[in-house]
Amino acid sequence: MTSMNDSIDPVARPARFGLFGRCLRTSMTGRVGFGLVMFVVIVAIFGPLLTPYAPKDQSAMYAVGANARPSADHWLGTDRLGYDILTQLLYGARTALVVGLGAVLISGCAGILIGGIAGYRGGWTDEVLMRFAEFFLVVPIFIIILAVVRVLSKAVTGTAFETMPYFNLTVIILMIGLFGWAPIARMTRGEFLRIKTLEFVQAARCGGQSGRQIVLSEILPNAFPSIVVLIALEIGGAILAEAMISFLGFGDPNAVSWGQMLYFNYQSLKIWPMASLAPGFMIFITVLGFNLLADGLSDAANPRARRR
């Protein structure tokens, strides 16, 4: 395998398309991960078609009651709040994906921007930005997010933000995003440092392209495969983080969240285990899906190293 790589023409641009395709072709974990992620995505999109209930519909309270066993009306039964468990699971998929994608959108943009500047500029800029990133790399994110969620919910009282739907959830997404950029920045910087010395970049520079052009059309696309791996990992991480925050009771009361389902139901685990086990299982497979996908992508991005 080593010899094969050695034979690549150093001036030629590395292939950058078909990362997903290669991931699916070559990596078993990638295939399983992709399957799981697709499952969650499909559930998120079509889930609502599969259930006659609206989310947060507590009508079961007036009929079969809370913590009811599965029946024709409620396939997985109802939970302690009188919600149809299946409905909550289906709608929870949307929240999970929105949290994952939203947070990563923020952390991805910030990370690539900061890492890119640090890697391309080098020198003092690099030093300062990376020290800054280092701090974010190690800071205990929960501690901060819990404090900010509480502080903000008190601070916005009486302002326009308060009327914003899903304000709490938005804050959580923002915070997870803002605290997740550092690994991406570090990876981007590393890739930029490496790629900037490669010959095709040198060639482009000699060809008279401007700095911005080089970054956008030469360096960034080639750094992307490695970044994508991290992004997939971070989606899983963000979903997990939101679940934990909700589990501690700091979630958004208006959103349907698996973590919040667990928060309300785990005390009655002995009465009706389904209500806690089902959302826990959903979080698990979603996060697992993204982690496996990241693993597969990493295999595809660096065929030589095979898993980092």
Partner: protein, 322 residues
């Protein structure tokens, strides 16, 4: 000489970082309002004059900036103030609850390192084999398992169904296991330690395996092999030493984080640790307690990362040239 300069630079970074963090914590929390008003809110019949009087007693009538420096001064004398909800000195509370956090975190870290080194090495030596695949699969499952879900399952199986381990608290109130506080404490630690270890083991195994694979490819290992040393010997004598460097960094990070990383574990097991105390403090908006815990966690973290960096530089002088 150069090592000395590097250490000095690292220390200066650490000091700057601590100053910034303390400012962020102080101004963020104090933007919430007057803690005395909150403290007396439940007491009807308190006039504004009384509130002002008590505020002055707490030094809250001074400008924010001045209070920040007073607070820093108090911190340097290890005076963290008094909790509003529990009326106890915050320093004492952090110490007592923090010890309980360490009581589960340190064994969990030791256990994780031990298991991860064995599993990681074992998998690395059998790269791409079925065993390697099993280890890696388990690692990925472990990394994806939400900690609280794992905790709930552990409680359900081992505490509720089987009844082997207690599901809450750090020690029995009255009937100690076999009449010994030590055994009783260990008995209570089993489930929380298992829960914390799970995630650490997964991450560390991955780290050990990756680095072991890299190391085993290197020239000096080939040389050692050529000289006829047994594979086990090579790994123990040469490869492990290289692998330990990133492991030390990660363990340093874990040690730095240990006070603040487990609010979930501690909530699930109602373990009287600092993470659980922090969640309570936030729920009740107990300002001095929130600030005290945050600053202790931040300082621990900065100290530990600085320390590992310095240690690392001393062990392997190449890194500082990175």
């Amino acid at each position: 000489m150069e090592t000395g300069r590097y250490i000095l630079r690292r220390l200066i970074y650490a000091a700057i970082m601590m100053l910034c963090t303390s400012a962020v914590i102080f101004f963020l929390i104090n933007s919430l309002g007057n803690p005395v008003e909150l403290m007396l809110a439940e007491t009807p019949g308190v006039s504004q004059e009384t509130v002002d009087l008590i505020s002055a007693q707490y030094g809250l009538d001074k400008p924010l900036i001045q209070r920040y420096f007073i607070w820093i001064g108090d911190l340097l004398r290890l005076d963290f103030g008094t909790s509003i909800t529990y009326n106890l000195p915050v320093g004492g509370m952090i110490w007592s609850w923090g010890l309980h956090s360490m009581q589960i975190q340190i064994p969990a870290i030791i256990l994780s390192v031990a298991v991860a080194i064995c599993a990681g090495t074992w998998a690395a030596r059998r790269q791409h084999s079925r065993q390697d695949f099993t280890v890696m699969g388990t690692v990925l499952l472990g990394q994806s398992m939400p900690a609280f879900f794992l905790g709930i399952i552990l409680i359900y199986i081992f505490s509720f169904v089987l009844g082997w381990f207690p599901s809450y608290g750090a020690i029995s109130t009255r009937r100690l296991l076999w009449g010994s506080a030590l055994f009783d404490g260990l008995w209570h630690m089993v489930l929380p330690v298992a829960m914390i270890s799970m995630f650490n083991i997964a991450t560390l195994t991955l780290l050990v395996r990756t680095n072991m694979i890299d190391t085993l490819r290197q020239d000096f290992i080939r040389t050692a092999r050529a000289s006829g040393l047994k594979e086990g010997e090579i790994i123990r004598r040469h490869a492990l030493r290289m692998v330990m460097l990133p492991v030390i960094t990660y363990v340093g990070l874990l040690l730095g984080l240990m006070l603040g990383t487990s609010p979930v574990t501690e909530t699930v097991f109602t373990w009287p640790g600092l993470g659980a105390l922090y969640v309570m403090a936030i729920q009740q908006l107990d300002y001095p307690l929130i600030m005290g815990i945050s600053i202790v966690i931040a300082v621990m973290l900065i100290l530990m990362t600085t320390l590992t960096d310095i240690l690392y530089a001393l062990i392997d002088p190449r890194v500082r040239l990175e």
